[in-house]
């Protein structure tokens, strides 16, 4: 506990705390759309796909955010082009592309001196070294993403639940898809300096999944997800100060703890009258 009190006096730690809460609540809210559209595999793929972009940007000394976003969008295009022939299923193509782009990132990083330190920072983040500029970027990007998502909320939800209906009403479903994919990619890239590429997955999926355990309604789900994301940031960062473990890992693990606790509490208290997710094809669904 004394470690924690000491840490709180350091401006670096307070800055990290602010960044963790911001990232956690933004990613938590965006994550609701990820779970709604069943995009978790896309998020995992994106976490690997943005990595070479971030690595190359760091080697060239340009903005990590721009590099990661370009690489992420390039991978989206690659998956769409390779998927057009329909010989391979999307999951296999994403698997091939994500492993390949990750290997490319490793090659770029390992070609430079001091590589293992940089590599660690990309993979698990280094939230204690965030700068005021990083925080400003988080606020601007996060604010824009949340603004776009809330402006298009009705259309996005319609598109997620009833694609055919949305198309019949004159919306273009692929535009709505693209909005969500871009929002997820941008949020992911913003989170990389703080929690790293691999652990951003946790913030973009687990808080939303946790919130789904508590309520079936969309508005409360987003509020709870933002809360869980922010809380995980505080808990993880505090744990990392007390036990001196990696902050990014501790934050991601905190989201998992929130999920397990929620699962235990809700299985005991909340009655289960309604299925919480759309029914899936029992045989094929679990394997997909």
């Amino acid at each position: 506990m004394r470690n924690l009190v000491e840490s709180l006096q350091s401006p670096l730690f307070r800055r990290a705390l602010l960044e963790a809460v911001l990232i956690g609540s933004i990613a938590g809210t965006v994550g609701v759309h990820v779970v709604l559209r069943k995009l978790p595999f896309f998020v995992v793929a994106m976490s690997h796909a943005t990595f070479p972009g971030v690595a190359i940007a760091s080697a060239l000394g340009v903005s990590l955010f721009v590099g990661g976003t370009i690489a992420g969008l390039a991978v989206v295009v690659a998956v769409l082009v390779l998927g057009a022939s329909k010989v391979l299923d999307d999951a296999s193509i994403i698997g091939v592309v994500l492993a390949g782009s990750f290997a490319l990132g490793v090659l770029v990083v390992s070609a430079q001196p001091g590589s293992s330190k940089d590599l660690t920072a990309f993979l698990v983040g280094s939230i204690l070294t965030v700068t005021p500029a990083d925080i400003a970027l988080t606020v601007i990007v996060g604010g824009t993403v949340l603004l776009v998502l809330s402006a298009l909320h009705k259309e996005l939800v319609l598109g997620a639940f009833d694609r055919v209906g949305a198309a019949a009403l004159g919306y273009r479903p692929w535009v709505l898809d693209a909005v969500v994919l871009v929002a997820v990619t941008v949020t992911m890239v913003t989170a990389i300096p703080a929690v790293g590429a691999l652990l951003a997955v946790a913030l973009l999926t687990v808080p939303a999944l946790t919130a789904r355990l508590w309520t079936d309604r969309l508005g409360p789900t987003q509020a709870i997800a933002a809360l869980v994301g922010g809380l995980s940031g505080v808990l993880g960062l505090s744990a990392s100060a007390v036990w001196s473990v990696a902050a990014g890992g501790a934050i991601a693990l905190a989201t998992g703890v929130c999920f397990v606790v929620s699962l235990a509490v809700t299985s005991l208290t909340v009655s289960r009258r309604m299925p919480r997710t759309a029914p899936r094809d029992r045989v094929g669904g679990a394997a997909a």
């Binding site: 069943k38 978790p40 595999f41 896309f42 995992v44 769409l80 390779l82 022939s85 329909k86 010989v87 391979l88 299923d89 999307d90 999951a91 296999s92 994403i94 698997g95 091939v96 592309v97 492993a99 390949g100 290997a103 490319l104 490793v106 090659l107 390992s110 590589s115 293992s116 330190k117 590599l119 660690t120 698990v124 691999l198 652990l199 997955v201 946790a202 999926t205 687990v206 999944l209 355990l213 036990w243 990696a246 990014g248 890992g249 501790a250 934050i251 991601a252 693990l253 989201t255 998992g256 299925p275 919480r276 029914p279 899936r280 045989v283 094929g284 669904g285 679990a286 394997a287 997909a288």
Partner: protein, 298 residues
């Protein structure tokens, strides 16, 4: 030219690395075809992250990495089996949750030790060049066991992949078949993880089979092509990383170079196939057999 391709293997450690990659190529190529048929690429990704905390704990307490990887991999497969029975939890979301939390736990464990950064790098990206005799034997044993199991259950696994309802109606235990295949995938990952590391190992399972599928349509030939492709890329990758590092000072990490060879090979085959497709200008694509899962659609 021949010297260029053979010269790197004059030393023992390079020969051992090549043997390890060929063994993993045989195993990964064959298992990958089943993964492709069943669309299990995401589960493979889950398992490769799930073995990480086991390896991390084993590394910190100085126990066998293989045992640690087996334990945490088995735990993840069990949680997946239990969790996907509950309708309230979406299977894809559960997998993302397992990936994130297992991986985070591993990172936290490794970060407790000294030398965090270099340890993490070694565990994540493997040390193919420091494979020893015992690890080769371990890999060979795992490969033989997995291939025997797959050979014995081949007919049932293929039936279950193409016609799950028919297989269930014919009285085959679907859940048991799924569990066996998941365990085989896990063993493959565990065998490959020390050499290739926890984030690159998925390439050895998914990429060769996907490349083979672009070239042939029958399952037997697909396995042969996948194995040959994996072995070839393992050899080329080692040659490139050796020649680059020794003669040109490029510092190419061997594991990542091998995976890059696999990916470049896949892209070349896909491009070649597209060209042939345009030239012949008649449909050669097989109709997709079932609606594609929404989650995998970006």
């Amino acid at each position: 030219m021949w010297d260029l391709l053979v010269e790197p293997f004059s030393t023992d450690y390079m020969r051992r690395a090549l043997v390890e990659l060929v063994l993993l190529g045989v195993l990964g190529g064959v298992v990958g075809v089943y993964v492709l048929l069943r669309r299990l690429a995401f589960i493979t990704e889950v398992v490769q992250h799930a073995v990480f905390p086991g390896i991390a704990v084993a590394f910190v307490v100085g126990q066998s990495l293989l045992a640690g990887a087996l334990a945490s991999g088995a735990l993840a497969v069990a949680l997946l089996a239990v969790g996907s029975r509950r309708r309230q939890i979406d299977a894809d979301a559960l997998m993302a949750l397992l990936i994130a939390t297992f991986f985070a736990f591993g990172v936290v464990v490794v970060s407790r030790g000294t030398g965090f950064q270099s340890d993490l790098t070694a565990l994540l990206f493997g040390r193919i060049l420091s494979v020893d005799q015992r690890e080769l034997i371990d890999t060979a044993v795992v490969a033989v066991v997995c291939l025997l199991v797959l050979a014995a259950l081949h007919k049932e696994l293929v039936l279950r992949a193409f016609d799950p309802i028919g297989a269930e109606a014919a009285g085959y235990p679907i859940a048991a078949l799924d569990l066996v295949l998941n365990l085989v995938v896990m063993l493959t990952i565990v065998a490959a993880v020390r050499a290739l590391g926890t984030v690159l190992v998925v390439a050895f399972v998914v990429t060769p089979a996907a490349t083979a599928r672009l070239l042939v349509r029958r399952i037997g030939p697909m396995m042969v092509v996948a194995v040959a492709f994996a072995g070839l890329c393992g050899w080329l990758g080692l040659v490139v990383s050796y020649q680059g590092s020794v003669h040109h000072g490029w510092r190419l990490a061997s594991g990542a170079t091998v995976v890059m060879c696999l990916t470049v090979g896949f892209v070349l085959v896909a491009a070649g196939r597209a060209v042939v497709h345009v030239v012949r200008s008649r449909p050669v694509a097989a109709p997709s057999r079932e609606p594609r899962p929404a989650a995998a659609r970006p």
